[in-house]
Every structure is written in C-alpha cells, then in structure tokens.
Symmetry: C2
Subunit: 154 residues, 2 copies
C-alpha cells in the first residue's frame, strides 16, 4: 500500500521529447467511482492491478499488485470500460525528481501532460523550462475520466 | 483466470450444521457494477482480490489474486462499500462435490444458503436431503447485492 502525492502540469513546448525513450501503456477501468478507482494496466509485457482511493488534495491511497499479463489482457478486453486508454509514457529525470510525460492516443490523441510524484505534500522541486501551468485540480485530466470524457470531446 | 459455474440453493433444515467446521469470511466491494464486480475478501488470515465478469446463466469469468491481509483489511475499511459482508462458510463434502453453506451476520443475519461449483454447465450431481429449492437466478442472493439490499430489508 502507499500514498500517492502527484502534481499534474501542461507542457509549454516540445523540448522534453528527446530526453527519454517512451514506453507503451494500455489501461482500463473496472470502476471509476469517486473514491474507489480500480485500474488494470499493461506496461510492455507486465500486467498490474491498481486500486486508488479518493483524491484528497494531492494525496491518494494507492494499492498496486502485479498480475499475469495474459490475465490483464483478458480483463482489459472483456471487462473494462471502453475505450481503453492508450498512451506512451516518457520518464524524464530532472534535478532529483522524475517527470512522467504521458502522450495519449486514440480518442485522447493530442493530449499530453506531465506528472511529478512527491514524497510528502508541500515538498519543493525544480521545474523544467518545458513545463507549463499546473492542472492537478482539474478532474478532466484524471485518466479514469478520459474514458468517459476523452480529449476529442473537450 | 477461470470460469465459475455455480448453483445456489436454499436450505430445508439444520442437518448440514454438524457436517463441517465453519470459517469466518469478511468481504466488501469496490464495484458492484453489472458485469464487473470487484471484491476484496479476508478468509482467516489471508487476503484476496477478485474480479468477476457478467453472469451468463450459471457461468461467470473470474480472476482471483492473493494480496497481503493487512492491505486487504485497509481496502475493506477505507475504500469498500459499506456494510461489509460478514459470514461463516461451511464446506461440506457430499458424493464427490463440495457444498458451501454461507451463514450471514450483521444486516444479513438470518440468511443462509448453499452453493455448489460445477466443472461445466449441465454437470449432474447428487443433492443432499438438507437442500431446498434453487435460487441461482435470483439476483437478491448475489453477495454484491447483499450490500445495497441486505436480508433485513427483504
């Protein structure tokens, strides 16, 4: 178990793009209820099952378990809400922190944002020049909400 | 992954009661959406995470994973829908099959029913004399529905 403290930002330019190699993510949701999100995710050849609690400011309870990728695939295809979320994630180190830039595909094509995970609320961090304004509090950017309200409908 | 084929029955009398020792189960649901039930369960000192697909007749897709009992407990307390389901399960062997009798507590106190799991639809099995009519098709008896519509309200 853990607590997730995440901040989300838009991007100012394309200067992040050559700083890391991207990895394909495919994920879907069994529940997008407020306060109990249940996600299944495939990263490369590995499957994961994740439960997230309600967002309280930047903090969220999170439980993650690895599961066989074949079963992750079957749950995604047969049981998760559609459309599935397809994205490429770029992990970019910057002054002691890792910025994760997600570039979406499918019905969310055109959407790109960055996340940084903190150890505790209020922790300070340096901001790369390619980072734009913060959107942590905007629920449209929650991945779970990108299923029901994808970027192409914004 | 697996497919679950289950039949559910009411009980005619108390003759099942001394045929097995019961074990305490505590379980809750992160999602009770039709077609994608997500359950967390503690049996004794072990925790489990289970995803079930839609019921199609007696058959249901089912995926189950063991998780640390302390995390199961935290998910049950903090994230699952209330009330949690508390029951004692008695596993009773009878002519090559195992009958599971569930005796509920809390808001479902007074409710008792038996389940038998089959290998394939249409498989034949012997019926103990303490088994009454079948209720497989009555959704009130789904454990997930006993959260929102417990036995005390029937």
């Amino acid at each position: 178990m853990g607590q997730e403290i995440e901040k989300k930002f838009l991007l100012k330019n394309e200067n992040w793009r050559n700083l890391a190699q991207g990895k394909k993510y495919c994920q879907g949701y069994l529940s997008t209820e407020k306060g109990r999100t249940v996600r299944v995710r495939i990263i490369g050849e590995r499957g994961f099952f994740t439960v997230k609690g309600p967002s309280e400011g930047e903090t969220r309870l999170e439980f993650e378990y690895e599961i066989p990728v074949s079963e992750a695939n079957e749950i995604l295809e047969k049981l998760c809400h559609k459309p599935l979320i397809q994205k490429t994630r770029y992990k970019i180190p910057f002054e002691g922190f890792t910025w994760e830039v997600d570039e979406f595909e499918g019905e969310n094509k055109g959407l790109v944002f960055a996340e940084i995970e903190l150890q505790h609320e209020g922790e300070t961090f340096a901001v790369p020049e390619w980072i734009d304004r913060e959107v942590t509090d905007d629920p449209r950017y929650y991945n779970a909400n990108l299923v029901t309200n994808p970027f192409c409908k914004w």
